[in-house]
Symmetry: D2
Subunit: 291 residues, 4 copies
């Protein structure tokens, strides 16, 4: 397939490279052009504008936040203005449900298709084609683009015909990760203050009832107090919790744990920890325990 790929950060570079490896042609665009060169080495064409990346059947975006996605999609010279009728925009960024709704409407009005396909996985998983793809959109369109998902991820889950529901599922996943962090922070403060070794404690948890990657990853960071460099910064954690709370508010769904997490991230930011890994909210449990 002819794919335009916009957004060559840590995640997008790996995803686009895997599209190339699978034999698709890729027109690659990035705001800072230096990232494009690396992909051209692998066989991509350089797109010099967003419009340049919109000349194929499909354009996929993997950008940092709502502002970036909104500007690239709805701005002048953006995807809606450039993609031919019948073309498909696959949006893999973690964006708000509200923006996802607006993008779907704008594409529909322009006679284009819009599919949401955010992913679970970190940059290494993107490079190794081991992502999990959470897809939502019209069934006929999803069927057409599923071959692309198959080469960037290990498994695709179709969750809804409404694209924004894929974003909601993605946000809920980050919400659940944050609850894992907070619960580990509290538990480790408790047993740690009683004299139990945190590293051994995390080993017990992950060897028994909590043998999931989330507990292993964050349990280790918290037990060893390794909050720098950030795998995912606290500012981004706050952003995602805020997006989950906003989506929940639109649906009139209270999330008491989400509220608690929001307060934790605000406290961490107010005390200068915005650039630490988001698991550093565990330091607040320590502090509250007088440790």
């Amino acid at each position: 397939m002819h794919v335009g790929f916009i957004g060559l950060g840590n995640m997008g570079s790996g995803m686009a490279a895997n599209l190339l490896k699978a034999g698709h042609t890729v027109a690659a665009y990035n705001r800072s052009a230096v990232k494009v060169d690396a992909l051209v080495q692998l066989g991509a064409t350089a797109a010099h504008t967003v419009a340049d990346a919109c000349r194929g059947d499909v354009v996929q975006t993997m950008l940092a936040d709502d502002d970036a996605v909104e500007s690239v999609t709805l701005g002048p010279g953006g995807i809606v203005a450039s993609l031919p009728p019948g073309g498909t925009h696959i949006s893999s960024s973690t964006v708000s449900v509200a923006l996802a709704r607006r993008l779907a409407a704008a594409h529909a009005e322009a006679g284009q298709s819009y599919v949401a396909a955010p992913v679970f996985g970190r940059p290494e998983a993107a490079a190794a084609a081991k992502l999990f793809v959470i897809a939502a959109g019209a069934p006929a369109v999803l069927e057409r683009v599923t071959p692309l998902f198959d080469v960037i991820g290990q498994r695709t889950f179709v969750v809804s015909e409404q694209p924004y529901n894929a974003n909601l599922v993605k946000l809920s996943g980050n919400f659940l990760l944050a609850t894992v962090i907070e619960s580990l922070g509290e538990a480790i403060a408790l047993v740690g203050k009683a004299g139990v070794d945190p590293v051994s404690y995390v080993d017990i948890l992950t060897s028994t009832l909590f043998s999931a990657p989330a507990y292993a990853t964050y349990g280790d960071l918290i037990a060893r107090k390794r909050y720098e460099p950030a795998g995912f910064a606290a500012t981004l954690g706050l952003k995602d919790v805020r997006l989950a709370l906003q989506a929940a508010e639109e649906l009139a769904v209270p999330l008491p744990l989400g509220s608690l997490l929001r307060d934790r991230f605000l406290s961490l930011l107010a005390n200068g920890g915005g650039q630490l890994d988001w698991s550093a909210i565990a330091t607040l449990s320590e502090r509250d325990a007088g440790l």
Copy 2:
């Protein structure tokens, strides 16, 4: 070894049976004698009193709550009064840290040893010798009784020389399980109200970042609303959260998630749900969302 075993409920029966299978002699006691007969069929001796079960080197208890353990251990004709000097009491019940401290002191004063060895695992795991044993006590004593742990469980973790720390770790594990339940309840209410199928959603979670038994077990119960019969009743969930909060208060460790969970369980009980499975606190997230 000559082991007395007191408390032949769903958990204790399996544990005692595995001691027998491994060649240990077991003098079995239970308040209601009918449970003893089944074990006698497997080769145990019937103990007619607590004192009868205290004639060997070791007596192990697996009882329902603080009151039962306190009465059997410290009451007239109890273990402290009956066990010979040098004997060891292995306490596997989930009890409060405060009681664990008192038991250790009483046994020490009587020249006996006290070891805490609560377990992670449900009745099926007890029957299959697949429990995880969380052990704490004096190293020399633990060394002597570890062969017993090896035949009832798949792995033993030694967490501290202070017996009560094993109880604290056990309580913290149940606290973490309850946070899993609450977080799943909130997330499922959120995506469910948006139209995502809860069963598919749980499948996504457990196939990706949350591939731990805790998420699979409770995600399934919540998505399918299977709160009866209770695997672990809400009243017991409240009890364990309360014990965790009490232990935390003694240590001056705030547990905001624990506070939230306590309120959830109280609300469930106030509305008649005390006998439902503890995962039924997820119904409160649904109710708050107007579902």
Copy 3:
């Protein structure tokens, strides 16, 4: 003074009438013109457009929410476009801190002055000139318009040279009122379930330590379950709590009570209570207690 007055709802009508009584000339504008007639009876001139109301020294606005104030102020034919250089806009609506910042900037750029003067008090207080005015802005400008505040309220408090701080104080006041409601709801559920009469209980509170209007008003509504008709609807309560939380987030100030209140209002709305008085969040404490 020549005053334009925009927004003749329950609050604005009383305020504008008091300006007339004190001898000021008033050009009155309202989206629905029928409210204007009543004021013309009292001596006002009818303004047929926003621009018509901007021909004097000062224009005062008292509107429902951010959208209304933004449209009237920044929209085409709005106050910024119509008010002569040197004119002053007194904004008495309860708006977000973010909008207050933008309005101040827009007026400054147009060579106009902007003063925030939200008020504490209900419609009866507005009619009786018994409001409390929370004012903020440049001292020289405030000095000029203080005579207007003196005729609509019983006392004026100057809180800052930054207009948005008056809005923040107003929002914090509504936040505090909501905490009073929530705390009364919990306390009344507690003593009520034990058999103490709620009306007598509120009488005790307001006769002793809690002799403030807030406790008398809301204690009475809750004890007598009088949630209709709404003095201040739950949807508006949610809006104000949300504005307080947004302002707090910009400042990186966690408000745990605000988070709890937001969840309460969402739960009330999700269960169909949006049009009840905001004190109806007390019904959630009752429900959680199984009453």
Copy 4:
């Protein structure tokens, strides 16, 4: 009336002195006898044991906590053992609902009457006979002892025929005071970080919607950061919140604000603030805001 008075601390001394002034005879007992001398100067008889104070019609107790009241009432040589049948024990201490239940039962079994009469007010109010008395008990008994309440307080509220309900109302009052403190702490952190002067802010609140003693007292302490010497220590604040939560748990009433307050007090204690005034939980809002 012949009254025994047990417990001559800051509160009890003033109460007993007012009984004397009104013409009642008082046999005064205190664990540390030096407090008794001062009262003897005012006309009291010194009681050398608890039993000595139980020779009249009525004995009133005003002690620090559950332990003190339990020991004086139920211990050897205590009130139940010493008071003649038909005598009345007026308990004015702030105790748990559970203890109040046990005391009532013990007195009933001994053919004695038990009345709960905790008070609202600080030591100055006790000295000035300006307390508010919250009374509960059998109507006939209350009628007999009401003349005593009239001379120690400015007003008596009868809340129930069940003595423990007076304790519940008292505990709920302290719970409400703590919510006032927490809400002021959060609001002052918010407006303070934005640059509004805290002292002026509290003046606005107490001049308008929040003109109750609770807001004036605690607003002033928080705005001026005057947490020493403690009027009421944080350790006592935690104790009363804990008693309110325990009573609520027995009734199956969740108190989310109570849970939040408990965590605040624990955090303050864990960080060395147990001897500060309980309004010092406001420092946690400041800290969380990075102030």
